[in-house]
């Protein structure tokens, strides 16, 4: 059940380190109200993306920052709307079977790929098979047993196991349709061959520096893409990116919230949305490595000890929402009333630790990498006050990812999902590098609720179960979440960005004039 976007941790963590601060004006854009500096040239979109496109082959691409690049040249079968709900794209409609193991989709007619190949059900099957076998994309289709072209415009997807987040992942960036000929020729790494709204202007592009796209005259979804020209610039360094924004080389930017005051001075639009949770991950909830962590009271004590709001304000620069949950704070599962449960209380924390039989605390080893250095002082200090002595083990970033799961607990900045069932699988039930021992079986109440949620009718019923589960997990101190950090985007007057939780950088349909 693991099929999340595979935005490399490098990216997330680097973003996290950089977006120590983000803006407070959570949720959506602040539409242009006049004033500030000139709106700049908005006849073309010039967006600063944090990372370069990983690959033009959708099967080898990442979701994190590849969205804007791929959405320019490929059409997806399924897209997402601003609430991360799947909406039609090349698939015009779809229907689940009663057992939710078969998905039947009608496909758009009259779409051709740039190389002249026709888009039809056969092409879709070829694409999906390619995606299922893809090293990175395959995760989205783990529960899919097969694809069939029912007729020229009808596609059938058979599942081996019910999967309520399949369409979400397809919409997130796992259903880009490429020319079947190019897939067969294995030539996509050299350059995209899709049916998307823009043509890749290879002549004017400089790979790894700037990508230029020109709008097609007659794309079926032309209205969604207002810019005649799109230029995407991969810029990892946030100061460089901000300089480019200041100098007018960009009009949309993946932003560092530390620059927020300047952005406001310039009268730019500012958009932000929760993107990752920050806190302590307990890899050893059952106490096999460190017995203490198997005790609910110890985990609760840690949650009580941390001044989440303080860390968010100081380290996170207030860019996010202090909470102890990891379903997005703007979603339906999130329960604001529960946020008070672990209000900072060191006395209580110490009491809980003593009750659990550790009045003098204990010693634990934790990994540390420069990326997480920003949180380390606060963490070290809090653990110290609580009586837990941490021995930090310094390591480089890739090693952190490799080794962190072998430690009983570690500091984590982990990307979130915009889909509630995806959150369940990614964060709770399946083994991930950041969640090496889900240990759901060791907690019968959790296991029961998970089962219920996976069986429940999508919609209100499922949400209700998830809410219960959420409450249970918070009570168990499954994690010690400090806050949900926002991703922030600056855009000049006249351009608005709608961020999507789950996408590090939204696809082009979420960047509009206005």
């Amino acid at each position: 059940m693991t099929r999340t976007r595979t935005s490399a941790l490098v990216a997330i963590a680097a973003v996290a380190a950089i977006t120590l601060a983000a803006c407070t004006s959570a949720g959506g854009s602040s539409p242009g109200a006049g004033g500030g500096t000139a709106a700049g040239d908005i006849s073309e979109l010039k967006a600063g993306v944090f990372l370069d496109v990983t690959s033009w082959d959708p099967a080898a691409a990442d979701i994190g920052f590849d969205g804007p690049y791929l959405s320019a040249v490929y059409d997806p079968l399924v897209a997402l709307d601003k609430d991360a709900k799947p909406v039609p794209a090349l698939a015009t409609s779809w229907e689940w079977s009663a057992d939710r193991l078969t998905l039947t989709a009608e496909l758009r007619k009259g779409v051709t790929f740039d190389d002249g190949q026709k888009f039809d059900a056969a092409a879709a099957v070829a694409n999906l098979q390619h995606l299922k076998t893809g090293v990175r994309s395959g995760q989205a289709y783990l529960n899919v047993s097969g694809f069939t072209a029912k007729d020229e415009d009808t596609l059938e997807i058979k599942l081996s196991k019910r999967d309520d987040s399949l369409l979400y992942f397809m919409g997130l960036g796992r259903s880009w349709m490429a020319s079947p000929a190019a897939i067969a020729a294995n030539s996509l790494t050299a350059g995209p061959v899709g049916s998307g709204p823009y043509t890749f202007d290879k002549a004017n592009s400089a790979p790894q520096s700037q990508y230029v796209f020109t709008k097609k005259a007659n794309h079926w979804d032309s209205a969604t893409y207002p810019f005649p020209t799109v230029k995407l610039f991969p810029i990892t360094d946030q100061t460089a990116s901000f300089n480019a924004m200041l100098s007018g080389q960009l009009n949309v930017q993946f932003a560092n919230a530390a620059n927020l005051p300047k952005a406001k001075d310039n009268g730019w639009n500012i958009a932000s949305k929760p993107s990752s949770w920050v806190g302590v991950q307990f890899a050893d909830r059952t106490g096999t490595q460190v017995k203490a962590l198997g005790d609910q009271r110890v985990r609760q004590a840690i949650s009580y000890a941390f001044d989440s709001a303080g860390i968010l304000k100081a380290v996170g620069n207030g860019s996010g929402t202090a909470t102890n949950q990891l379903w997005p704070v703007d979603g339906t599962v999130y329960d604001k009333s529960m946020d008070g449960k672990y209000a900072t209380n060191m006395a209580k924390a110490k009491q809980l630790l003593a009750d659990a039989g550790y009045p003098g605390g204990f010693t634990v080893k934790m990994p540390m990498s420069p990326i997480f250095a920003a949180w380390q002082p606060a963490a070290n200090q809090t653990f110290g006050e609580l009586g837990i002595k941490v021995e930090w083990q310094d390591m480089a970033m890739p090693d952190y990812q490799k080794n962190a799961p072998t430690y009983p607990m570690f500091l984590a900045v982990i990307a979130m999902s915009g889909n509630d069932m995806a959150t369940l699988s990614d964060q709770v039930t399946t083994a991930q590098w950041y969640n090496p021992n889900p240990a759901v079986d060791a907690f019968p109440e959790v296991k029961a609720l998970v089962g219920q949620a996976e069986q429940a009718e999508p919609g209100a019923a499922q949400t209700a179960v998830l809410k219960q589960l959420n409450a249970k997990l918070v009570d168990l101190a499954w994690w010690s979440v400090w806050y949900q950090a926002d991703n922030t985007y600056f855009s000049v007057k006249g351009i608005t960005v709608t961020p999507i939780t789950g996408m590090m950088f939204p696809t082009l349909r979420f960047i509009q004039r206005g």
Binding site: A258, V315, P370, A374, P377, W392
Partner: protein, 617 residues
């Protein structure tokens, strides 16, 4: 002995006074003081720092300076001053590790390569070059990734990459010292190689290594900050690079956070650089130039001597001819150099003259000022030298008041110059042809073809049998005797009326010396030149000169016709000099005989005994 006793580039270093001399440089003292402050801050950080550098106080996030936090708070809510102090520890610790590992690798390798030469040298140099070609950043990043960000390991790795700097400088120095006779002397004295390396070689490279260490430390600190800036290195200990990275992210909003560590880093590196450059000045890696003020002081002192020394300030020497008849006439010439202890006067009131067609010898021991007198005539004193004279006339024309350019215009036209060392006086980078033709074309305005023809003719005239080969040669391809002929050719090619020759035969073998003297005599007679020849050899004087000027300690002790000087030297010093030339003194046999007569007992001693036995055979 060479004739220039003045601040040449390689004055021997007095180790004992290096520190004291350093303290006389204000800039160096300030830099050293700053570095000491940084070191003290680092050492005393735990006591000096007002707060725990890692203590987080959320109210302190991005705080302005004030309220007990002198420099404010960083973006994580920690006291910047405390972090700065503790960061100095990290920074210096890293620099020390880097320098030590660079030293340990580079210096022994450099010393051995320079001392043993051959395969050792080739191998070590290849490794050093290879190290310099390795993309260090890639390796450092890989090492950083692989060693779990271990700071000491990273700094050692950095030291490895900086080791070639040490290697190059020690090898060059060791190579130079290896050729010094004192190393051979030590080997002959039975000193083992390890001991020679340990004592003589290490002592010789000591000073440049100190300079190199100051620079390396600066580079190491900069690179260290750069690596930390890129996010490499331990997160749990405060460091300036990290602080700068933090500041960099918040640069536009909270510029102070970037400012503090930048200042600390900048001051530390600048202090090291200034210490290095001051030390380099002191051991003459960088030749210091006398300032304009110092030169003015010399001039003033030369023209207006202190009253107490007036007796010593009268001109010495005499004029033989009337001023108008002279090819060269010097009136009360003084030459001085600025030195730390005041003005050093090397020519103290010299007057002399030479008639057209006359050969004048200026003779004296080293340090007598004879060469300086000639340089003053040519207006080509070494830098820092200042000449003052009541008058200098060349071909009857007063030139001492002329501008530098007008004086320079005399050279090559009215005055020719033959130097002492033949090989060091030819430009090693150009062919002989180029060096002979260039003045003919650009000073005498000959066409290219004419100039070449004239150069060839002159070479034939100075006795070179294969002029075309010589013209095509580079200086290192011809012998010393040939080079001296080339130089004479160059001096007379412009047909000057006055030829100044500075010890023209000293560096030559006696057989060649005789040839060159013969050549000079012939040319002088053929062209009717006035020849002024500077020498310490009375044999040369006797051979070629009409008149002689004897100099001692910057003054003329005697002037006269050659015959008169040799027969009846008026000054005892002249007599001493003449008698010191071993022409007519007793040989060893006479000496031993005399000694045996004086102390017959000595005959039993082995030394005389051997001599005697030889005689007996």
């Amino acid at each position: 002995m060479t004739a220039v006793p003045f601040p040449a580039a390689l004055a021997p270093v007095k180790r004992i006074s290096l520190g004291r001399r350093y303290l006389r440089r204000p800039l160096g003292v300030v830099a050293l003081a700053l570095l000491l402050v940084v070191v003290a801050a680092a050492v005393l950080a735990p006591w000096l720092a007002p707060f725990d550098p890692n203590h987080v106080d959320f109210t302190l996030t991005h705080a302005e300076p004030g309220g007990g936090h002198l420099l404010g708070g960083d973006s994580a809510g920690r006291d910047i001053l405390s972090r700065l102090l503790h960061g100095a520890r990290t920074t210096l610790y890293g620099a020390v590790i880097t320098c030590v590992s660079g030293l340990l690798l580079g210096v022994p390798a450099g010393v051995c390569a320079g001392y043993f030469g051959g395969v050792t040298d080739r191998l070590a140099s290849w490794v050093s070059d290879a190290l310099q070609s390795v993309p260090g950043m890639i390796v450092l990043l890989v090492v950083a990734a692989g060693t779990g960000q271990s700071f000491p390991v990273l700094m050692v790795a950095l030291g490895v990459f900086l080791a070639p700097g040490y290697y190059r400088i020690t090898r060059a120095r060791a190579l130079a010292v290896r050729k010094e006779p004192y190393i051979d002397a030590a080997r002959v004295a039975g000193v083992t190689n390890p001991r020679i390396l340990r004592t003589h070689m290490l002592r010789a490279v000591y000073a440049p290594i100190v300079v190199q260490t100051a620079l390396t430390a600066g580079i190491a600190i900069g690179m260290q900050a750069g690596l930390q800036f890129l996010g490499i290195g331990s997160a749990s200990t405060p460091s300036w690079g990290q602080m700068m990275n933090d500041g960099f992210q918040n640069m536009l909003t909270y510029p102070l956070i970037l400012l503090w560590p930048s200042i600390a880093l900048g001051i530390t590196i600048a202090a090291l650089a200034f210490i290095g450059s001051t030390l380099a000045d002191l051991i003459s890696i960088r030749a210091e130039q006398p300032s304009r003020r110092a030169r003015a002081r010399v001039r003033q002192e030369l023209t207006a001597p202190a009253a107490t020394e007036l007796s010593n300030r009268l001109p010495s020497g005499e004029h033989e001819h009337s001023a108008e008849d002279c090819a060269l006439r010097i009136d009360n010439l003084r030459v001085g150099y600025a030195s730390p202890s005041g003005v050093k006067e090397v020519v103290r009131g010299v007057s002399l003259d030479a008639a057209p067609g006359e050969v004048l010898g200026i003779v004296g021991e080293s340090g007598s000022g004879k060469t300086q007198t000639m340089f003053a005539v040519l207006d080509l004193l070494p830098s820092g030298g200042t000449a003052v004279a009541d008058g200098i006339r060349v071909s009857g024309r007063e030139v001492s008041g002329l501008s530098a350019a007008e004086r320079a215009a005399l050279l090559g036209r009215s005055i020719g110059y033959v130097p002492q060392e033949p090989l060091s006086n030819l430009d090693p980078c150009y062919t002989i042809e180029r060096q002979l033709v260039e003045p003919l074309r650009h000073v005498h305005g000959l066409s290219k073809a004419d100039a070449r023809q004239r150069a060839r003719d002159v070479l034939v005239r100075v006795g070179l049998t294969d002029p075309d080969r010589v013209l095509a040669s580079y200086p290192h391809q011809i012998s010393g005797g040939m080079a001296q002929r080339v130089l004479i050719a160059g001096a007379v090619a412009g047909r000057p009326s006055l030829l100044v020759a500075d010890e023209p035969t000293t560096a030559l073998d006696v057989t060649v010396q005789a040839e060159v003297l013969e050549l000079l005599r012939e040319l002088q007679q053929e062209y009717g030149m006035t020849l002024v020849i500077v020498t310490h050899n009375f044999g040369v004087v006797a051979d070629i000169c009409d008149r002689v000027v004897v100099m001692k300690d910057g003054r003329i002790v005697e002037t006269g016709r050659v015959e008169q000087i040799f027969r009846h030297p008026a000054d005892p010093y002249t007599a001493e000099l003449i008698s010191a030339s071993l022409d007519d003194v007793a040989g060893r046999h006479e000496l031993d005989q005399a000694w045996a007569r004086e102390s017959p007992a000595a005959l039993d001693r082995s030394a005389a005994h051997v001599g005697g036995e030889d005689d007996a055979r």
